[in-house]
């Protein structure tokens, strides 16, 4: 055991951790926005909205993330005519993939609001948009918070998959340091520990929020 390997490479590793957080934050924001659209689409009574949204959600939920990352890595240059670079193509893959999972969270959240609320909204003369905006979504969002926090933890872990297209995030940097220093035990324990701490914070927060809601 030679733990000195960690402080020696700490700034390099932390640089990767910053990139990991950037990836997670952007994927979270983008995935959530797209997820709201898809989730509402899944609840639409208009068939031309419902079917594409359902197809989108089921398509991405039946694929491994690693494959989606490869797919965008190969696909995006083909569509726009030039390579996008590792970071952007990873971001697009994460947003597209996580949106499918957020869509299901949004749908579940909205369905947890009693049907009577929608009717009450309409009966006061509000439009579909106004009912959603002022009555359904605020209540639904409250129900969605714990699963969203859990999904944040999952996204944070999922960013480690950007490893496969060579993006120098935390895990990639850990393995780069390992290939130079040959200290697998210390390095992977350290990486696991760092992920464990951040994810545990998220998991505990999610559990707290959930039990607070049950009490309400």
């Amino acid at each position: 055991m030679d733990w000195a390997v960690i402080p020696r490479n700490l700034s390099f590793l932390l640089g990767g951790l910053v990139l990991t957080f950037e990836l997670a934050a952007i994927s979270l924001a983008g995935g959530f926005l797209l997820g709201i659209i898809m989730g509402l689409g899944r609840l639409s009574s208009r068939k031309w909205i419902y079917y594409p949204a359902s197809l989108y959600v089921n398509f991405f939920r039946s694929l491994p993330l690693i494959l989606v990352i490869f797919w965008f890595y190969f696909m995006v240059p083909f569509i726009i005519g030039r390579p996008l670079g590792d970071f952007l193509s990873a971001i697009i893959a994460f947003i597209a993939f996580e949106a499918a999972y957020f869509a299901e969270i949004v749908r579940g959240g909205i369905q947890s609001v009693p049907q009577g609320q929608v009717m009450a909204g309409y009966s006061t003369g509000l439009s579909y948009y106004e009912t959603m905006r002022h009555i359904i979504l605020p209540q639904a969002l409250r129900n969605m918070v714990p699963p969203i926090v859990t999904q944040c933890v999952i996204i944070f872990q999922d960013t480690s998959l950007a490893y496969v297209i060579g993006l120098k995030e935390f895990l990639r940097r850990t393995s780069l340091v390992d290939s130079r220093e040959l200290r697998s035990l210390e390095l992977y324990l350290f990486a696991g520990f760092v992920y464990l701490i951040f994810c545990s914070i998220g998991t505990i927060a999610s559990r707290r929020l959930e039990s607070r809601q049950i009490r309400r």
């Binding site: 694929l63 491994p64 490869f70 797919w71 005519g81 999922d158 393995s175 697998s184 545990s200």
Partner: protein, 239 residues
């Protein structure tokens, strides 16, 4: 414009077609073996977590928390790069000499251990969804703790948890793709390998996606059938 000539024949041309088929087959048996480990281990974890004993609950809880709060890829690298190096030298040598397909078996074990934490939670939720009266009734007929679980609680729980089990199996099946990072040539790995020989990643990745979607659909339909078959009269039926 980025000129790209589609050449779908990379999917069946020699030798690539064979690689792809081997990849699909590897995906299937790798995920099934891992699933076997996951269910056995998950059952143990779940029982540890519901037993009236603080120590077993702590062990089970720690296992679940540690596994669920670290990325699967980190665990995979840990099993592959770290575990052999901390074994005694003799067993490390034996491992490299006698296990012909070390990445594959590492993948099976890691995926099994990882999935077990999720499966364990589902089993525990299933057990706890059983009303306490069932336990009291079972105990009052004179069954031991072991017998109560073996004959009453587990048969009930198994049926309750089939829907979440289907989801977890599909997650396990999709996670098997990550074993490509340690060199297992399953579906995703094979499609990537063919790309590196032919530069036709778009076709191979599309083909791999179709494989995952088709298998997912098959599993979903099969499990819906199983659910109808073993349904206990009087229990809530799906849809």
């Amino acid at each position: 414009m980025f000129s790209y000539e589609f050449d779908w024949s990379v999917l069946w041309r020699e030798p690539y077609g064979q690689w792809m088929l081997n990849g699909i087959w590897t995906t299937i048996h790798l995920s099934l073996l891992a699933w076997g480990i996951a269910v056995a281990l998950g059952l143990m974890v779940a029982v540890l977590r519901v037993l009236p004993n603080r120590i077993t609950r702590f062990i089970g809880g720690t296992y679940v928390e540690v596994i669920r709060n670290t990325p699967y890829l980190v665990q995979l690298f840990f099993w592959y790069f770290v575990v052999p190096s901390i074994l005694p030298e003799a067993s490390e040598k034996w491992l490299y000499d006698h296990v012909p397909d070390l990445p594959y078996w590492t993948g099976v074990i890691c995926l099994g251990v990882y999935t077990a934490s999720r499966v364990g939670e589902q089993i525990r939720a299933g057990m706890q969804s059983i009303p306490p009266e069932q336990y009291q009734a079972a105990f009052s007929t004179g069954l031991t703790t072991y017998q109560v679980y073996r004959h009453v609680i587990i048969p009930y729980s198994l049926r309750i948890i089939i829907p979440p089990f289907t989801t977890e199996f599909l997650t396990c099946f999709k996670n098997s793709a990550l074993t490509m990072t340690i060199g297992v040539l399953e579906t995703t790995g094979a499609s990537y390998l063919i790309d590196s020989y032919t530069w036709h990643g778009l076709e191979t990745t599309t083909a791999a996606s179709v494989v995952y979607i088709v298998i997912t659909l098959c599993v979903v339909f099969f499990m819906a059938w199983v659910e109808r078959r073993i349904h206990i009269p009087g229990m809530i039926k799906r849809g």
